[in-house]
Amino acid sequence: MNLITALIAGLIFGVGLLFSGMTNPAKVQNFLDIFGLWDPSLAFVMGGAIAVTAPGYYFLRKRTGTFLGAKFQWPTRTDIDNRLVAGAAMFGVGWGLGGFCPGPALTALPFAFESVTGPLWFVPAMLVGLGIAKANN
């Protein structure tokens, strides 16, 4: 059952990414290009997502377990360390360079052969990067 719900969550997530414009690298870079071709659309993506997730999380926090009886894996870390800031800074550089972050790159992968070929290059490199980071964690 939890496999099905995870799959459905992934599917909704991907559909959301496609509708939102996050899978279009030009749109992502235009969002980041405040002094150029600025397209503020993507602020609405984060706004819309948080507007749903924040109240939802608030109510889930009051429960002791999930609706399928699993344990909540709420992140527990609160420390601000160099790894957090350095990692986020690196991620930003890569995001700006390619116009892809992990979710949209994966979502756009199935159509990489017929339209935007970017994920074909981006995704394998990203997996290598994540693997290296995990091995050094």
Binding site: F13, V15, D39, L60, T78, P110, W121
Partner: protein
């Protein structure tokens, strides 16, 4: 006839051809009409040769005025091909779906919908079997989304690729290393973290937004690398 200002016939031919190529590759519909209008002066501008005879400026006779028009048109080609429409409603709906997905995953499996974290769980060296399996199911869902939308609506949202493949490999590597080291990306820190009012995630989100905007500024406005 030789070109002007240190540019020979071959080079000016190459410039004009390259411009036409860019027009064809990077523009569609209305954009192309605007560009044809922009290109018109370059291809038709009259100029005068050494004996005072008027010459139509065709391929191979790009003078400095032609080059100015060329560089202006080149800039326009970039802008027109890169411009994206402001889509507040569609982006808001997409964002709300992302939020809903994050809620579904937490409400059923107790997992944070952070893509870099979820992908990390299926990667070596240390794999927790039960977590890896639900993560894999989520990833399958993500991968199925685009084909599903294509089947339901008949089309996929527009996308324009900008970066060169070499740049994309570097970008992918840096994104993987960065999100792995900083424990999160746009979804884990940006959506889920901010929704929990986590200070860690707020600092991460501000940091990556800032470095991303600086990167785009450098690439577009300082280096001007738009190829």
């Amino acid at each position: 006839m030789a070109g002007f200002h240190g540019i020979n016939v071959d080079q000016s031919n190459a410039l004009v051809n390259r411009m036409g190529q860019l027009c064809r590759q990077r523009t569609t519909g209305a954009n192309r009409q605007t560009l044809t209008a922009l290109m018109y002066p370059v291809l038709t501008l009259d100029t005068v040769d050494a004996t005072g005879t008027q010459l139509p400026l065709k391929y191979g006779r790009v003078d400095c005025i032609g080059l100015i028009v060329y560089s202006y048109a080149y800039q326009k080609i970039f802008e027109l091909s890169m411009q994206t429409e402001f889509t507040p409603l569609l982006s808001l709906i997409g964002g709300m779906l992302i939020g809903l997905a994050a809620l579904v995953l937490m409400a059923t499996n107790g997992q944070i919908a952070g893509i870099s974290g979820i992908v990390s769980q299926v990667l070596p060296p240390s794999i927790n079997r039960s977590k890896a399996i639900t993560s894999a199911a989520f990833i399958v869902g993500l991968l199925v989304a685009a084909p599903a939308v294509k089947i339901m609506t008949g089309t996929l949202p527009e996308a324009t690729m900008v970066a060169h493949p070499v740049l994309l490999v570097i970008a992918g590597l840096v994104v993987g290393l960065g999100t792995g080291t900083g424990n999160g990306c746009t979804s884990g820190h940006g959506v889920c973290g901010l929704s929990r009012f986590s200070t860690r995630s707020l600092i991460a989100t501000v940091t990556f937004m800032l470095t991303a905007a600086i990167t785009v500024y450098i690439v577009r406005h300082i280096i001007g690398a738009v190829q």
